[in-house]
């Protein structure tokens, strides 16, 4: 077929409009596959033109915008000069050659086909260029350079920018190419300004496959733009670079900044600062990152196995600080003898006091009450009534005078004897035991038990007793010369009285009780009034009933202080309490109250306490007046103002028999320490908090009055029971049990020695605190660290 020429100017030389020109071209293409267009700036030349046998369009005149727009496969367009904007716009397959320059927007949204530019292009070339994988990639070849914003949002097009006579020799790709580019490849030759979008494209050299493609296709391009002479110039591989789209997968792995932070830190930050910016303020400070769950020194807490560092409530509240938990452990371990010896190491009167008269402060505070009921300490005390005492130490050649053989004086002597120190008790009565022996009714303290314990006491080496010895100032000063220490333990044996009319008719409780326990009790009327409704008053009431009274009334000016066993016993016998009652007068008919009431009584007994008799004291021993009587002032060690004289028991302040025993033990420990040249340490263990224990490991159990039952039920507060629960619960296996070799103790102390410990491995422990939360005994503590 011959070439068909379509003219862009009409016969009159006027420009044919784009709409009409397009119709003319279309008509021509229907008949011819080779068109020559003498165009005159018409737009959209070649738009969607196609022939099955192919179509060649040669554009000889000025071309308008969008040359080759929507170009079809098989169509070739050759523009012999320059072209305007948007050449190859939405091209889907045409091959478009432009021998000169092209302006802006070349290949915008092109999906297929090729555009060959023999010069340079303007801004926004290759933008939004597509690639449908069922077809070949669209291609843009540029001999010179591109304008700004090249390849924005390029989605798959291939560009080759040859850099021959570029518009800007320092930058062949223009400013900021590749923004939003998601696919495709740009070959370029020549300098660029490095302003390409680093998050969209990466710079590299063509690999072998890419180079081979270029070399295979380059001759065809050069033929199309009629510059085959440049083949050699453009075939130097080292002059070519490529910008290739970064895939989303690659981008996902990139830090979104163009430089890795580690690189910035090492290459800029550290260099600019010359090192760690805190090196002068905090030399060597380690600020390197750590994990959240840490071991070793990085933990904020640390477990600590505080075995026996706190006191169980029984030990803490007992005035003698008897470690009942240890004793029960010895029983659990079958070491009964050691258990008894241990108790006797604290008191010579376990059966009489722990087992009978003591109100058992230990039991009041027993942790077992949180599970069912307190440990029965009376059972434990009674069991030791006839036990053999622990061995006594070798004599130290020192001696101590003890004035008063009550529980306080007895325990001083007992403790000193255990340590090998001689003591001599000077007792004004005809028996030792003080009020325990003289006053406490046998109903509450069985004579058999008492006698056994006194016998055991008196059989002790290093203790001698002088009975019926009145103390005087002279004798006292002699004692100070003859003995290393003098301990005043005379108790309170002067009844307190009130000077209301008829008070001479009133018996003192102390005298009444002493006589009641003797062979010659005082006679008692049928009606008895006891003034003062404390526990001693209750004892008086009980004895009055025993001695023949029908009705005993206890009166008090305030709410009666009586409690516990004494009160229950008195009430059981029928005693009644009246309060507030103030005594106005006592007559032969009875007691007349301040309100004028008569409480009929043949016997009136006053029980408002006793005070010490201290006339023998030298002036070096200071006393303090309280409630009209003098009491000896002492320090924590029971030392008086005279460094050779100690005072214990009720002479300091009225208390329980157990307080007297405790004071005796403390005073003895002080004396022993002084004699041995050691520093005396008071009992200083803190009470273990209830919260530290985990009592839910125990279930309510049947309570039987046996030692074994008490031992089994004991929670072993503050004393490890070797149950392995910590080892079991520890999630990181940090806790283990370690055998220890027992140290050099003797007797029951051997049994008390704990020959193991639990340890936590710092390299495994994460400080979760489970050991502390689980330990039944409260041994594990989590300490801040």
């Amino acid at each position: 077929m011959a070439t068909t020429v379509v003219k862009g100017l009409n016969e009159a030389g006027a420009r044919i409009g784009s709409m009409k020109f397009e119709k003319l071209v279309r008509d021509a293409a229907a008949h011819s596959n080779d068109l020559t267009l003498e165009s005159f700036g018409q737009h959209n030349i070649g738009i969607r033109l196609q022939r099955e046998d192919g179509l060649t369009i040669t554009v000889k005149g000025p071309s308008g915008q969008r040359l080759g727009c929507m170009g079809q496969p098989g169509t070739r367009i050759i523009c012999e000069g320059a072209t305007s904007d948007d050449v190859g716009y939405l091209n889907i397959g045409a091959e478009i050659s432009v021998l000169g320059d092209a302006t802006n927007g070349a290949c915008n949204a092109m999906a297929n086909g090729k555009v060959f530019i023999g010069g340079s292009i303007g801004a926004r070339g290759l933008t939004m260029t597509k690639w449908n994988p069922d077809y070949d990639r669209p291609e843009l070849w540029v001999l010179g350079s591109t304008g700004d914003s090249f390849a924005e949002f390029n989605c798959g097009g291939t560009a080759v920018i040859c850099g021959i006579n570029p518009k800007n020799s320092t930058n062949v790709l223009g400013y900021r190419p590749c923004v939003g580019m998601v696919g495709g490849l740009i070959y370029f030759r020549g300098k660029i300004d490095d302003s390409y979008s680093k998050t969209n494209a990466k710079l590299s050299q063509p690999d072998d496959q890419q180079w081979q493609w270029l070399m295979e296709n380059l001759p065809g391009y050069l033929d199309n733009i009629r510059r085959p002479d440049l083949l050699e110039t453009l075939s130097k591989r080292d002059e070519w670079n490529i910008l290739i789209a970064i895939t989303p997968q690659e981008r996902a792995l990139m830090f979104s900044g163009p430089m890795a932070m580690a690189e910035f830190r090492n290459e800029h930050w550290v260099k600019a600062l010359g090192g760690d910016p805190l090196r002068d303020l905090a030399p060597g400070l380690d600020r390197s990152p750590i994990g959240t769950i840490v071991t070793g020194d990085l933990r904020r807490k640390q477990p600590y196995w505080a075995n026996a560092e706190s006191a169980a409530p029984c030990t803490y509240y007992c005035p003698v600080h008897i470690p009942t938990v240890d004793r029960l452990r010895l029983i659990r371990e079958g070491k009964l003898d050691e258990a008894y010896q241990m108790l006797l190491h604290y008191t010579p009167l376990p059966a009489s006091v722990c087992g009978a008269v003591c109100p058992n402060l230990c039991m009041d505070n027993c942790s077992r009450r949180g599970v069912d009921t307190a440990i029965d300490v009376q059972v434990l005390g009674q069991a030791v009534g006839t036990a053999t005492p622990p061995p006594f130490a070798e004599p130290l050649g020192k001696k101590v005078a003890i004035i008063g053989g009550g529980p306080a004086g007895m325990n001083v002597a007992w403790q000193l004897a255990l340590a090998g120190i001689e003591s001599h008790i000077f007792e004004q009565d005809d028996m030792i035991g003080g009020k325990l022996a003289q006053v406490i009714p046998w109903e509450r303290l069985s004579q058999a038990i008492w006698d056994e314990e006194v016998k055991r006491f008196l059989n002790t080496p290093y203790i001698s007793v002088s009975l019926k010895t009145e103390m005087t100032r002279d004798k006292f000063s002699q004692l100070q010369k003859d003995f290393d220490y003098v301990v005043v333990a005379v108790g309170t044996h002067v009844p307190r009285r009130i000077a209301f009319p008829g008070n001479e008719k009133v018996l003192a409780a102390l005298d009444f009780l002493k006589k009641a326990k003797s062979d010659k009790p005082l006679p008692v009327g049928k009606q008895v009034v006891v003034i003062g409704a404390g526990n001693v008053g209750c004892d008086v009431a009980c004895e009055a009933y025993r001695l023949g009274a029908d009705k005993v009334t206890l009166i008090d000016i305030q709410k009666p202080l009586a409690f516990g066993k004494e009160k229950e016993a008195a009430e059981a016998l029928g005693a009644t309490f009246r309060w507030p009652v103030t005594t106005n007068e006592v007559t032969d008919e009875g007691l007349i109250t301040a309100d004028g009431d008569l409480i009929p009584a043949q016997t009136v007994i006053i029980s408002i306490g006793d005070v010490p008799a201290l006339s023998f004291l030298p002036e070096s021993v200071e006393t303090m007046k309280v409630g009209g009587a003098a009491w000896i002032s002492t320090d924590k060690a029971h030392l008086t103002s005279d460094a050779q004289v100690l005072a214990i028991g009720d002479v300091e302040r009225p208390g329980l028999a157990t307080h007297a025993l405790g004071a005796g033990k403390t005073a003895a420990e002080f004396i022993i320490a002084k004699i041995k040249g050691l520093e005396w340490q008071p009992f200083a263990k803190p009470l273990i908090p209830q919260k530290a224990l985990t009592i839910t490991h125990y279930v309510p159990d049947e309570v039987v009055a046996t030692e074994q039952n008490q031992a089994d039920r004991c929670l072993s507060c503050a004393s490890c029971r070797d149950c392995h629960l910590c080892e079991t619960i520890c999630p990181t296996g940090a806790i283990s049990r370690k055998e220890l070799h027992p140290v050099t103790q003797t007797g029951f102390q051997v049994a008390l020695d704990v020959d193991y410990e639990y340890v936590s491995d710092d390299s495994k422990c994460i400080a979760c605190g489970f050991c502390a939360d689980t330990c039944p005994c409260g041994i594990w503590n989590m300490n801040p660290f």
Binding site: G257, L273, P277, L281, R369, V699, G769, D773
Partner: protein
């Protein structure tokens, strides 16, 4: 465990439903690995051993009694000092999704008891006022469709910086240029500024991570972000580094760290971005810093020039300043002179009905480089709860009033107003900030948002965590204990700073592009915003839209 019968009920005893945060522990999922109790910053959770009684209730059996079964679970402490703060670290470390705190939905009775020893509650964080803020409701409603050049935030180049510093009127500028007068210094900075958080309130890893990120933004990303030191001083090596130019040094009533700053002046390689004189904070107007002894580590003590382990309260006021005139004159002039009048110096005040008085003073002060106003929704590391909750003034109307006042005097382009206080409270940081800009702010300071965005601060407006003041920050952001702050990797903080500002930068463009604006920040462009709230629209003098 406390035995049931020994539990004593006190006036401040709490039941689990009273707790502000309630731990839900799924025993059937728990592996008893101990990680939750190990990580808990408050010691709020423990392994509890519980005992169940199963009575044998068989009618036909003569033998009666009970069986007991013990079981374990993670339970929370009831001691007010150990109450769960809802930080959720337990659930973060739990390998088995067995534990999580939930906000208590009952009335929070702990508020009645958080005044032990007569000391009112102090905490960190922001006003507990959840929900959309006024700024969240502002819409950018002036969209350039075909009416203006279409702008593409992704393709077009934008200038989004703002001017920090006094801008002379053209007459003044020409006059001084010709006659050799003093031209006040200005800085072109990114309009989102990392607000003042001190080295001390923040851990070393956090503070240095922020600065590293800021340096990255400037030097790698080309985003000119600056940060303010707060009043805790600045490490001497930083003062002598090229990074000082990205730092606004704050001076406040405590004057902490200024000895080191003054010592460093002769050796400074560059000038600081600006000097901020703090007179007030939005979160706690009329109150000063409350850095307690447990945050005054050896390092902090050294930096602040004080002994270790002492309380460091900043007084609410500068003791040597007695009036606005004096405050403005003395402080601004001194600080401007200290840096040879080459560094912008501006005051920071709490938003207040009196803000306009301060601003008008500044207008007359030739040395004043701007005004920073901090609103009630601002965050803080430590404040009395009552200050945070109820004292202060919202930022929007305060800045708006000030801006309109300037506009009435024709000075709106001369003295910039910066705004802070709740910008990005609900995460909409760019939207909030640009709303403030269009209401008249030249830029915004963001603090709490930064902690949340770059370091994963767990605090929120449901009073989650908010224990910045106690030094036990589980993320290591506000702790001075290396065992906690080493959890924070400064590189990761820096990376997040970069990511955050890249994102804000893009969002600013996404907001500006539809306005048809690319070359200057739309300060005071209030015709471009609207709000669906008539009262707010009237008050702010912006459009009501619906």
């Amino acid at each position: 465990m406390v035995p049931v019968r020994s539990v004593s009920i006190t006036p401040s005893s709490l039941a689990p439903i009273d707790f502000p945060w309630i731990i839900e522990h799924k025993e059937e999922r728990c592996t008893l690995c101990g990680q939750c109790t190990a990580v808990c910053p408050k010691g709020a959770i423990v392994l509890a051993h519980m005992r169940k009684r199963v009575p044998k209730l068989d009618v036909f059996q003569k033998k009666r009694g009970n069986d007991y079964r013990t079981f374990t679970g993670i339970r929370q402490e009831t001691d007010p000092a150990k109450l769960c703060i809802g930080c959720g670290m337990c659930s973060m470390v739990c390998p088995n999704d067995a534990i999580t705190p939930h906000p208590g939905t009952n009335e929070n009775r702990t508020v009645f008891f958080n005044n032990r020893k007569g000391e009112p509650l102090k905490r960190g964080g922001r006003r507990n006022n959840p929900g959309a803020t006024l700024l969240d409701q502002i819409m950018f409603d002036r969209i350039s469709m075909l009416t203006d050049p279409a702008l593409d935030a992704g393709r077009h180049e934008f200038t989004v910086t703002t001017s920090l510093g006094r801008v002379l009127s053209p007459e003044d500028f020409l006059d001084r240029t010709i006659n050799g007068g003093w031209i006040p210094p200005t800085r072109e900075i990114f309009p989102f500024i990392i607000g003042s958080m001190s080295f001390g309130a923040l851990s070393p890893n956090m503070w240095l991570g922020l600065l590293q990120g800021v340096a990255y933004c400037n030097e790698v990303l080309g985003i000119p972000v600056v940060m303010c030191t707060g009043e805790g001083g600045c490490p001497p090596w930083i003062l002598r580094s090229p990074y000082l130019k990205y730092i606004i040094l704050q001076i406040a009533s405590g004057y902490f760290g200024w000895d080191e700053i003054i010592r460093a002046i002769p050796e400074m390689q560059c000038q600081p971005a600006a000097i901020e004189i703090k007179y007030g904070q939005g979160a706690k107007p009329g109150d000063g810093g409350l850095l307690m002894w447990y945050k005054v580590s050896k390092l902090i003590a050294r930096l602040r020039g004080v002994p270790e382990g002492v309380d460091l309260p900043s007084p609410p006021v500068h003791q040597t300043l007695y009036s606005i005139e004096e405050s403005v004159m003395k402080m601004i002039q001194t600080l401007s002179t200290a840096f040879d009048h080459k560094v912008p110096v501006y005051p920071k005040i709490s938003a207040s009905t009196s803000a306009k008085s301060v601003l008008n003073n500044l207008v007359r002060n030739p040395y004043a480089a701007g005004l920073m106003i901090d609103g009630i929704d601002g965050g803080t590391g430590a404040a009395y709860n009552v200050s945070m909750e109820a004292t202060g003034h919202p930022i929007a109307s305060c800045v708006r009033d000030c801006y309109l006042d300037l506009a009435a005097q024709g000075k709106q382009n001369e003295i910039p107003i910066f705004a802070a206080g709740g910008i990005g409270k609900n995460g909409n940081v760019a939207q909030n900030g640009m709303a403030m800009v269009m209401l008249g702010a030249s830029g915004v300071h963001i603090g709490k948002y930064i902690m949340q965005a770059v370091a994963g601060c767990l605090g929120n407006e449901m009073n989650r965590c908010n224990v910045c003041n106690l030094g036990i920050c589980p993320k290591g952001i506000t702790s001075q204990n290396p065992k906690l702050y080493r959890r924070l990797d400064p590189d990761m903080v820096a990376e997040r700073v970069a990511e955050t500002f890249m994102s804000i930068n893009t969002e600013i463009k996404k907001i500006m592009a539809p306005l048809g604006r690319s070359q200057s920040l739309p300060v005071g462009m209030s015709d471009a915003i609207g709000i669906g709230n008539q009262a707010a629209a009237d008050r702010l003098k912006i459009k009501y839209v619906c």
